[in-house]
Amino acid sequence: MADGLHTADLEAWIREFARVVAEHREELTALDSAIGDADHGTNMDRGMTAAVGALEAAPPADPAALLKQVGMTLVSKVGGASGPLYGTFFLRMAGALGPEPADAAAFARALRAGLEGVVARGKAEPGDKTMLDALVPACDALDEALASGKPLGAALEAAADAARQGRDATIPLVARKGRASYLGERSAGHQDPGATSTALLLDAAVSALAGSQS
């Protein structure tokens, strides 16, 4: 599909994210047990299961509608910190996309719009030990790869790589936002659950979207 990402591609991304979240549910909850309240895996799995269910019940007509529906579903099914944050992320992505298929640059812009939504909603900065620590490097890597002329597939792989590195880099950090910040110094030495689910989101993008334009 050299003409960009269609609704079906984005749906595949969402389905793949739902699948890997379900697969990693226990791991996400275990990470959240160490420095939070032991619900991140359950939250994300509940939300993404509902998002996929909603897609099946009422298949959206275009990319923007699809991501908007996912965002709305997350906002109204997840709760906690991750509901508004991931919800806002997808809603802002939807706002940045049009009804037409998205090309690589449009997708990257939308991803950054999502990131900005997370910042606006959660007021965290990189280094605070949150999902931003995976999302920011992912957006940066994606932009850079596309700017250097790489195709979407390779660019997404670079983004996913960066997300995983960002996720790993949360381990030594002392949390400054979210529930983990209550632990103070004791939060160091643990991987952030939200950064971990965000790395999965980028992995899912590679699996579902990388083939679309290659």
């Binding site: 619900d39 109204s76 709760g79 906690g80 508004p84 004791r186």
Partner: protein, 333 residues
């Protein structure tokens, strides 16, 4: 995991069925998971809405009723409810005098209540004011944290602002009461054991038999530090020292002293703790005007307790003594 539940995924829905069956004076909206006063909305009265993750019972659903909350939203266990719930609650309690949101300071709760307020603002003319509670001295309120957590003081805010609303005070004044209470209250908690989130199926943290966590919140999260098990007397000192160090509680009309059980601690032990707390307060020149001892804001089956002090004046004492009729707190009616 040993719990009196059916499927872990249904625990909140099942408990709400139980609340509905046990309390015909309340109205439970099962779809939105909101517990309403049976007579909500009360015309001309400011409506009080709170809510949060489940697992803290009786808070918040058990504090719905005359003289306290008009509605409470029940999230999944330890997970803030979603904006739709809060919006439904807000609309359902709007008696024309505006609605107060009582929000515990957690990232999730604050964001979801914010989004609910945005929803309500977009859809209706209901005036909404939010007051965020953040009384936990275990956490420093600094650029390097999400701020202090809202813990024990939330119960007192719900009672006192509820009484102010019941008296017919306008929204701004009811919100003032809530802010004053939050500003004059401080809490600190500890845990002897972890709790087990039903969906997680195992204890959130492991705690050796001879250790305890100091400075915990109410979501089964580990605390600020782990220390050796100590007698109640020393625990009372450990909890009160940072509380008394943070605010001057001497003089004036005294304090409401609140010893709260975390869910798995029996009342016998809470009274032992209260005896020690009262002794420390006496030594510190703090006069106890009223007290509250029991498990009012819990963390599932966690064993442990928290201590909350609230500096009161004549008005707050009058509001405290005013009639309240909820499943969890009741007097005067």
């Amino acid at each position: 995991m040993k719990k009196l539940i059916n499927d872990p995924a249904d625990v909140v829905a099942d408990a709400l069925r139980g609340m509905a069956a046990a309390h015909p004076e309340l109205r439970v909206d099962h779809e939105n998971r909101v517990v309403f006063r049976g007579d909500a909305p009360v015309q001309g009265k400011v409506g009080l809405v709170s809510g949060g993750g489940s697992g803290h019972e009786p808070m918040h659903g058990g504090f719905v009723g005359l003289g306290m909350l008009d509605a409470a939203c029940a999230g999944e266990v330890f997970t803030s409810p979603v904006p739709d719930q809060m919006a439904a609650a807000t609309k359902g309690v709007d008696g024309g005098a505006g609605v107060l949101h009582i929000v515990k300071n957690y990232t999730g709760d604050v964001m979801n209540f914010e989004m609910a307020a945005e929803l309500v603002a977009a859809e209706s003319g209901t005036e909404v004011v939010a007051v965020v509670t953040d009384d936990d001295v275990a956490v420093q309120d600094s650029l390097y944290t999400a701020g202090r957590r809202g813990v024990g003081v939330t119960v007192l805010v719900e009672k006192l602002a509820g009484a102010a609303a019941e008296e017919g005070r306008p929204l701004a004044q009811v919100a003032d009461v809530a802010r004053t209470v939050n500003g004059q209250g401080r809490s600190m908690g500890m845990a002897l054991t972890s709790c087990t989130v039903p969906a997680a199926g195992k204890p959130t943290f492991d705690l050796p038999d001879d250790e305890m966590e100091i400075g915990i919140g109410i979501h089964g999260e580990p605390g600020r530090r782990r220390v050796r098990l100590a007698p109640a007397r020393e625990i009372a000192e450990m909890l009160l020292e940072p509380v008394l160090g943070d605010l001057d509680f001497t003089g004036g009309d005294g304090v409401i002293a609140f010893v709260n059980g975390m869910g798995g601690t029996p009342l016998l032990e809470l009274y032992v703790m209260y005896a020690e707390v009262a002794a420390v307060l006496e030594k510190s020149g703090v006069r106890v005007a009223r007290s509250l001892v029991g498990s009012y804001m819990t963390s599932l089956e966690m064993a442990g307790c928290s201590v909350t002090l609230l500096k009161v004046d004549e008005d707050l004492l009058r509001l405290w003594d005013a009639p309240v009729r909820t499943p969890g707190l009741r007097w005067g009616i």
